[in-house]
């Protein structure tokens, strides 16, 4: 993948899926653009989602049954596809979150280790 935007991190697909789930969880039903926008905002523009890649992820999550979608009218009267979290999506988010926190905690501890701690 071309990496023209140095300094910004590329997003791993699995991580992106987790972000999508969390975003919908917090903000309720959203359309694709809004999700992309939120992720961008929350990450403080540090993450550049190559915005289009969001759609295959959305499709995948929908096929997994984590989210469902429907056409509806957006805030400025445009027809758009809104995605909402399903029950199993909710569970998925919870378990992914726990996994993530665990991983993060473990990694964090490793970074805190100093040489004398291991002596």
């Amino acid at each position: 993948m071309p990496n023209e935007m140095k300094g910004k991190k590329d997003v791993h697909q699995g991580t992106l899926a987790l972000m999508v789930l969390k975003t919908i969880d917090v903000l309720g039903p959203l359309h694709g653009y809004a999700i992309a926008r939120r992720i961008e905002q929350i990450s403080g523009d540090l993450l550049s989602v190559n915005q289009g890649t969001l759609y295959p992820v959305l499709l995948r999550l929908e096929q997994e049954g984590a989210i469902s979608s429907d056409w509806a009218t957006s805030e400025n009267n445009r027809r758009a596809r809104f995605y909402r979290l399903t029950r199993s999506g909710h569970k998925l988010l919870e378990s992914e979150k726990r996994d993530w926190e665990q991983t993060a905690a473990i990694i964090a501890r490793f970074f805190e280790v100093r040489a004398e701690d291991l002596a």
Partner: protein, 878 residues
């Protein structure tokens, strides 16, 4: 779970061909529109706003590709695409596709057809619950010949009383008998006397009514009978009211209590089962001649066949001590039911299976060759596709798909072929194999065929797939310019020729050996003349009065002799080729008697009428039996030539005596050896003693032999009428000409020979077609080289000889390898050979030219064509 959900969604999308493309486009458009709107609000001019929105979104095509991959089943999709492409390719060259499919039809059809037999005999479990726990128990003589494994009743009861290895033990014996229903003419039926344990051994539930238990099996209990499905259909028209019907069997009033399901046929082809009603104490005679029951048993839970066998050995040993006089030379042997039924056929079936596998191998080589040839022709296409970005894997997969499709098409054609063969010939298979529905199309056969086809497809698809691996792209694309010598693939092709020749030779040798065996079997002296003899059976109740029996058979004899067209009429307890055993041991007045070792052990037959003339067996010394020889003192007997050779090689047997418990017998004549006594026409002939059937205890079951001037079938009705006149309660059974019986006896070797020969000829044909193809293709490939050679001064004959020589060298190698392989492999045929040794040089001397002549012709044509090439044209060929 999630992965499963996703897979289902993918499959659903794939199956419904749902394309989310519209949805994707709409969503993307919305996305861009919103982004553009925002951009405009931020002050961008409209065009720039849209452009920036698009940049931010990324490459739509790449995303769409991703989206699409997420959506369906990409692997399957490319497979389908390959399949469509392959079908287009085949349509473009239907000749290639047709040859390949036809070849595979033969290649898959032959093993599949053989597999129907393999499956029915060696794989499919017998139709009884836990069938692998059922064994046959044979009584086997430690030295000399046994009575076909038959057991005597006292020994059976000893066995049951002492053995702990069996959950139940049963027996059956044959009783040909007459069934009178009251509403129809008497019907001759094949009955079996069985004990109550017999039903527990097999554990098959009746279709209607019940089977019989201990109570019915007590001596003097009211007689009952269980019908087979076939008898129920034929005799009672499948009437379900048959249960409880009173009929007369063996002149005994009998109640029909059950009907067995179609699959249950033990022993094969039986019409009805009756309780034997034997009690342990009621049989005391345990010497020779007392063995007539077939014993089956079900292993007790947790007992292995081996431990049951050692249990049996022990019992046998004890009985040898306790009854040294009668049981001193006998022991019990157990064998699994399947082995008992098909063990004898196994080598023949496996040989056929291997032969059909060879045929498949040759077919595969041919198709692989075709594929290779085409792959070479398509080198540029492949190079082009690779240049356009197709991965190597992708291209290999495509070749594999093409090959597998061809193979599957061939496999399906092969299945159709098998289906036709099974329908057309299944019922004509010899013996048990020919029983309705025994050899059949079923899902294991189909799975076998399709699996074989796929495996072959992958096998010969790999050849071209691997061939193109790693070749230099730029060279491939330019290939046309340097097509001179071709690549060094000639080695592989020559190896193919060698292998095909070798395999063909092995099969030809096998076919010749079996052919010669069959010839020997049919043409070596039989000891009788099978032509123009009609045979049939008459059975009186076993407890008929001796006088009545003798008179009845004498009456029949007289009546038949007066029929026009009849030359001679004879009677015998059993016919040659009939699986019927009776042996006796005797002392001989010219041989010393040793304890427990009787001087003479011989097969015993009872005859009457003009047996010798009716059968066409010559009298060698002395005279034939005449009426009265059975009731004279001493009774008079004749013996066969083998008897004389074995027991008195020098000297005159006439007037000498043999004896056993029943008294002394005088030998009055020696007749020629008759083959087929006891059933096997190929078996070695043993000593035989012929008594008169009209002795003090005349035989109630007799087979008549009627030698005729007219075709024997014409006499059947006249004979039926005569018998009916003499006794309206009698029905004649087992009507067959001696020719037919002989045909049945050699049906199995004949089938083997026919199939192996068919396989050998098909293989040879395929090999020739394949070799022709290879040489022709090589010539075509090297046409420019031929042009160059000719331009440089090579003569036409040099060119022809060059191609001919190369191929024939390969063929000679193949012949050498094939000869070695045949020498090794024909050892497995040994058990099926008769009168010919496996490494008979004549067989090779005939097979090798039979093989090389067509191979030479197949090579010659394209080689000669190579010489007709016009060098100018050849050099211009693109």
């Amino acid at each position: 779970m999630r992965a499963l959900n996703r897979l289902f969604a993918r499959i659903r999308n794939f199956a419904t061909r749902r394309q989310g493309d519209k949805r994707f486009r709409e969503e993307i458009e919305q996305h861009i529109a919103i982004q553009a709107n925002e951009n405009m609000r931020a002050g961008m001019p409209p065009e720039e706003a849209v452009r920036q929105a698009r940049i931010k979104l990324g490459s739509i095509e790449a995303i769409r590709e991703q989206y699409h991959q997420e959506e369906g089943l990409p692997v399957l999709e490319s497979l389908l695409q390959d399949a469509r492409f392959a079908i287009r390719q085949m349509r473009k060259s239907p000749g290639f596709a047709l040859v390949a499919v036809l070849t595979m039809m033969l290649g898959i059809g032959a093993p599949t057809a053989t597999f129907t037999i393999v499956y029915a005999t060696l794989i499919r479990s017998l139709p009884y619950p836990e069938a692998d726990r059922i064994v046959r128990i044979h009584d086997v003589r430690l030295q000399g010949r046994s009575t076909g494994g038959l057991v005597g009743v006292p020994r059976f009861f000893d066995l049951v009383a002492r053995s702990k290895s069996f959950a139940s033990a049963g027996f059956f014996y044959f009783e040909d008998t007459t069934l009178i229903t009251g509403t129809q003419l008497p019907a001759a039926v094949k009955g079996a006397g069985v004990n109550a344990g017999f039903w527990r051994v097999f554990g098959v539930n009746p279709l209607l009514g019940r089977t019989f238990g201990k109570k019915d099996d007590q001596p003097n209990a009211p007689m009952v009978a269980v019908l087979s499905y076939a008898a129920w259909q034929h005799i009672f028209g499948g009437d379900s009211d048959v249960i409880g019907r009173q009929v007369t069997i063996e002149q005994q009033s009998t109640t029909i209590i059950g009907v067995m399901p179609k699959e249950f046929s033990v022993p094969a082809g039986i019409d009805l089962w009756r309780p034997a009603q034997f009690a342990p104490g009621s049989w005391t005679w345990r010497g020779e001649g007392s063995r007539f029951i077939n014993v089956v048993a079900r292993l007790a839970p947790g007992v292995s066949l081996e431990s049951a066998q050692s249990d049996l050995r022990l019992i046998g040993e004890r009985l040898r001590h306790e009854h040294a006089d009668t049981d001193g030379l006998w022991q019990f042997e157990s064998v699994g039911m399947r082995d008992d039924l098909y063990g004898e056929l196994k080598p023949a079936i496996l040989v056929l299976f291997i032969a059909s596998g060879f045929l498949l191998l040759v077919a595969c080589i041919n198709v692989a060759n075709l594929m290779l040839a085409r792959a070479t022709a398509r080198e540029r296409e492949v190079a082009l596709r690779r240049a356009l970005g197709a991965s190597e894997r992708r291209i290999q997969l495509q070749f594999l798909t093409e090959a597998t499709l061809l193979a599957i098409a061939g496999g399906l054609a092969g299945l159709v072929l098998t289906f036709l063969l099974v329908r057309g010939l299944g019922a004509k298979l010899p013996g048990r194999l020919g029983m309705a529905g025994f050899v059949d199309m079923n899902w294991p056969v189909m799975v076998f065929a399709v699996g074989l086809a796929v495996a072959c497809g992958i096998g010969f698809g790999l050849a071209p797939a691997l061939r193109n691996r790693g070749s230099a792209l730029n060279l491939d694309l330019k290939r046309n310019d340097l097509q001179v010598a071709g690549r060094a693939r000639g080695g592989a092709r020559n190896a193919f020729i060698s292998i095909q020749v070798a395999i063909s030779l092995v099969l030809l040798v096998g076919a010749s050996l079996l052919g010669e065996s069959l010839w020997n079997l049919l043409k070596s002296p039989l000891g009788f003349i099978p032509e123009h003899v009609l045979t049939f059976r008459l059975v009186l109740p076993w407890n008929s009065k001796p006088d009545a029996t003798r008179n009845f058979y004498a009456d029949v004899q007289r009546h038949l002799e007066t029929l026009p067209g009849v030359i001679a009429v004879g009677q015998a307890s059993a016919l040659p080729t009939e699986d019927w055993h009776a042996r006796g041991t005797f002392d001989a007045d010219w041989l010393p008697r040793t304890d427990h070792h009787d001087a003479v052990n011989a097969e015993v037959r009872a005859i009457s009428g003009d047996f010798l003339h009716a059968l066409g067996t010559p009298l060698l010394v002395g005279r034939a039996l005449i009426p009265g020889d059975g009731v004279s003192t001493p009774v008079r007997v004749v013996v066969n030539h083998r008897f004389a050779l074995q027991y008195l090689p020098v000297g005159n047997l006439i007037g000498r005596h043999i004896s056993n418990d029943t008294g002394s017998m005088e030998i009055v004549g020696v007749i020629a050896d008759v083959r087929g006594t006891g059933g096997s026409i190929a078996g070695e002939i043993g000593p035989e003693v012929y008594f008169s059937a009209d002795g003090a205890y005349p035989n109630t079951r007799r087979t008549f032999l009627v030698r005729t001037q007219v075709p024997p079938e014409q006499l059947v009705n006249a004979i039926r009428e005569q018998i009916h006149q003499i006794d309206p309660h009698q029905a004649i059974a087992g009507v067959a000409t001696m020719d037919e019986l002989l045909g049945k006896a050699v049906a199995q070797p004949r089938l083997n020979m026919a199939l192996i020969t068919a396989f050998a000829l098909l293989t040879l044909m395929l090999a020739c077609v394949g070799i022709y193809g290879v040489v022709a293709w090589t010539v075509a490939q090297r046409i420019r080289e031929i042009g160059v050679r000719m331009a440089l001064g090579a003569t036409r004959s040099q060119i022809s000889l060059f191609f001919l020589g190369r191929s024939l060298r390969a063929a000679v190698w193949g012949t050498l390898v094939g000869t070695l392989a045949a020498l090794l492999l024909t050892r497995f045929l040994r058990s099926q050979l008769y009168g010919v040794t496996a490494n008979n040089p004549w067989v090779y001397a005939i097979s090798i030219p039979l093989l090389l002549v067509p191979v030479f012709v197949a090579t010659l044509r394209p080689a000669l064509r190579a010489a007709t090439v016009n060098p100018v044209d050849a050099l211009r060929t693109e």
